[in-house]
């Protein structure tokens, strides 16, 4: 038997304490009003005469006590949400799926977010499932950890998880699962039939709590074909609070504000509007909304890129850029220049925004944002650090770093990796043996990322991942 966010012994203790409390309250003597009577003689006679009739009173009293105690116990059970265990003797397999949609970041009345509440419930489930194999998954990332009986490993996986969207993903799959716990706030628009079709016993545990929220529900930049026509931003704002709210909408291009208006939003109302962005300006467009009652921050800001305002310039340094060329040419708004490692000298000011080094490392670290794909080790410079080769590494742990958004470790296959180990680099993904697979080095202006593996099929299948664009 599992009890929501409580361990078994805590739940039984709470039940016993509640039953005891209600019993005490039932039997406690309330100070009755004192009434002076000339004599108790007649009352004594009446009560003596009715003493034989107290059987019914006794029954009524016992029934009242039982009913009151049951009410208390049921109140506690309603809070604890008990659910039968998968197997009493252990040996079953259960899957805990966390709804990682953005709405899980909303704050509840107790100050914690729905996500934190879901994590707490997941921990309780892990603790109460001794002997069972447990796997943890999210709606965005799929299977994250397990199945395993190692509670420490599972809890470590929970520590890494964050809401990351994933509304359009499929349900995570795991064979031989006897029970699925889906912890959600109920906002995920995904048919439950897909989950129930696995044949497992599905228990939906809600962490929903009504919360006022104002959000940007849609944001897109429209670039007309004619060069003299200015770009426009399409915005959709919604008020999910039960009260009318006045939201402040600010739209900026870079550091220039192109729109700053107050929008009256009735309860449940969605407002759509177009904001002209001007003919020229920074390609970065940012929309931000603020309102008095607004518990979810993640949907208050939206960004877009006006491709025609400034094309992203990428220089790819590679001896064999064929495969990368196929990849980059398909990405819109990017102008790519391919040069050979021998031609590369130093970053050219203003020439490119990003440099990609494929299987090669320059003698000096560039000051621009850079991606190092499987840096060569034998003749690598010292600034990138020591490295070692690992064959068929298994992607085991990962931080929730932005460059890994959308990476599903369970589906990543690595043939070999050249891991970089240096104090200058921060590993954000490691193999099962602890070798860094992805490392980053960040300053306030630039970010450099090292992929310890290549994108060719002989080294990894990362090129097929949705996460490639983030990397």
């Amino acid at each position: 038997m599992s009890f929501g966010a409580l361990a078994g012994w805590q739940a039984w203790l709470a039940l016993l304490a509640t039953a005891g409390l209600f019993t005490y309250v039932f039997f406690i003597k309330i100070r009755a009003p004192r009434i002076a009577v000339p004599s108790l003689m007649l009352w004594q006679r009446v009560l003596d005469a009715t003493r034989e009739m107290t059987l019914w009173e006794r029954i009524r009293r016992i029934v009242s006590w039982i009913v009151i105690t049951l009410i208390g116990v049921m109140l506690v059970l309603a809070v604890m949400r008990p659910a039968p265990s998968v197997t009493a003797a252990g040996g079953g397999r259960r899957l805990i799926i966390l709804d990682s949609s953005w709405s899980m970041g909303a704050e509840t009345s107790s100050g914690e977010t729905r996500w934190e509440r879901a994590i707490a419930e997941a921990r309780a489930l892990i603790q109460s499932s001794a002997g069972d194999e447990v796997a943890v998954a999210t709606t965005a990332d799929g299977l994250v950890e397990g199945p395993t009986t190692d509670a420490v490993l599972l809890e470590a996986a929970l520590d890494r998880l964050m809401p990351s969207g994933g509304e359009n993903s499929d349900w995570p799959r795991l064979s031989n699962v006897s029970k699925v716990h889906f912890i959600t706030d109920g906002t995920l628009a995904r048919p439950m039939a897909g989950l129930e079709a696995t044949g497992a016993d599905v228990v939906v545990q809600s962490v929903y709590e009504s919360a006022p929220n104002v959000a940007i529900t849609a944001f897109e930049v429209y670039e007309p074909g004619a060069p003299e026509a200015q770009a426009e931003a399409y915005l959709e704002l919604a008020n999910y609070s039960p009260q009318k709210q006045t939201a402040q909408l600010t739209v900026t291009r870079g550091t220039t504000t192109v729109g700053d208006v107050a929008v009256e939003l009735a309860p449940g109302e969605a407002v759509r509007q177009m904001v002209p962005l001007g003919l020229t300006g920074d390609p970065r467009v940012r929309a931000r909304i603020s309102a008095p009652d607004n518990v979810l921050a993640v949907d208050d800001e939206a960004v877009a890129w006006i491709a025609r305002a400034e094309t992203l310039s990428v220089t790819v340094v590679s001896a064999e850029p064929g495969f990368l060329k196929v990849l980059f040419d398909r990405l819109p708004g990017i102008r790519t220049t391919y040069i050979a490692p021998g031609v590369y000298d130093q970053p050219r000011p203003g020439a490119e925004h990003v440099i990609v080094f494929d299987h090669w490392v320059p003698p000096a670290a560039p000051t621009k944002p850079a991606l190092y794909v499987s840096p060569m080790l034998a003749d690598g410079p010292a600034w990138i650090g020591q490295a070692r080769i690992e064959t068929k590494p298994q992607w085991a742990t990962a931080d929730r770093h932005a460059v890994l958004r959308g990476v599903d470790p369970a589906t990543v296959t690595l043939e070999r990796a050249r891991s970089v180990e240096s104090d200058a680099w921060t590993p954000v993904a490691r193999s099962a043996t602890g070798s860094p697979l992805v490392s980053v080095r960040e300053t306030t202006d630039t970010r450099a990322v090292v992929l310890g593996f290549g994108l060719l099929e002989a080294e990894s299948n990362v090129a097929l991942q949705l996460s490639l664009i983030h990397i």
């Binding site: 100070r31 009003p33 009434i35 000339p38 004599s39 003689m41 007649l42 006679r45 009560l47």
Partner: protein, 294 residues
């Protein structure tokens, strides 16, 4: 509490007199017939003359007819001893409640006193609780009524009811038998039967005047209540349900009925005097219907 009656009511009281079912010997000449033969005006009987008799009462006409000396006897008219026992225990005025029952007892005692005084009867006020407190005799004559009022106003409620002990105390004082009126609520835990029988056994003509008020008849409050005995201070926690309230009212009615039946069985006058009724109505109507006054 100030006791007083208007002059009309006092005038009506003067026409009444307390009816005693027995003739009692008094102390002074008055208007009541006594069992004694004496110097009254009403002829009563003859008896043989014996030496020493007052020969002025010899019936000479009978001597001429019968040749025997017969003495003419006359009824003796004396005052009637009236003992007014007033229950002054705490049950007559429970703390926190209006002392209407006790005040009614004092008013009834004052009215009976005035009737007795108006007919030169010897009235004695006997306030009691566990014992008879200081007895008070205002004297004779209706002019003493204001003294009676003063005496009654000095009586304060307090103590427990113990009629047996009180009447034993009274019996020990050796008062001559007379008309005895007990004004009480008769809520004595030891019962009312023994003390009333005790008075009757001492030769008194006993009247029981039962006082009752609304709070005696109806418990009033429903729900969890802690009842406090006004006299003993004992408490009893009771959940007063409508059924229990009805049972209490029935118990009180039975208590009253038992008292009434007991009085009827032992030839004791019984009068019920609820405090809701005015004293004038009780004295002029109920007392007369009960053959207590005429």
């Amino acid at each position: 509490m100030a006791i007083g009656f208007d002059s009309d009511f006092l005038k009506k009281l003067e026409y009444l007199h307390v009816v005693s079912k027995k003739a009692f010997a008094g102390q002074a000449r008055a208007e009541r017939l006594t069992p004694k033969r004496g110097r009254g005006l009403e002829f009563a009987d003859y008896r043989q003359y014996s030496a020493g008799d007052d020969f002025r009462h010899i019936d000479w006409k009978a001597y001429r007819r019968l040749g025997r000396l017969l003495l003419r006897l006359f009824d003796e008219e004396q005052d009637l001893p009236i003992y007014l026992f007033i229950d002054a225990s705490q049950s007559m005025a429970p703390p926190g409640q209006s002392p209407e029952k006790f005040e009614q007892a004092l008013r009834l005692a004052a009215a009976l006193c005035y009737i007795g005084l108006a007919h030169l009867d010897r009235v004695t006020l006997m306030p009691f609780d566990e014992t008879v407190r200081e007895e008070r005799s205002p004297g004779q004559g209706k002019g003493r009524i204001f003294r009676v009022f003063d005496m009654l106003e000095q009586i304060k409620p307090g103590g427990r009811t113990d009629m047996v002990a009180a009447f034993k105390n009274f019996a020990a004082r050796g008062r001559r038998a007379g008309l005895t009126v007990v004004i009480s609520d008769f809520l004595d835990p030891a019962g009312f039967e023994k003390p009333l029988k005790m008075l009757q056994a001492r030769g008194h003509d006993v009247y029981a005047v039962q006082l009752a008020c609304e709070t005696d008849r109806d418990p009033g409050a429903l729900g969890d209540v802690r009842f406090v005995d006004a006299e003993s201070g004992d408490t009893r926690d009771v959940e007063v349900t409508p059924a229990l309230a009805r049972a209490y009212t029935a118990a009180w009615e039975k208590h009253t009925e038992d008292l009434q039946m007991f009085c009827g069985r032992y030839n004791i006058g019984y009068i019920r005097a609820d405090v809701e009724r005015p004293v004038e109505e009780i004295v002029l109507k109920t007392f007369r219907q009960g053959r207590f006054v005429a």
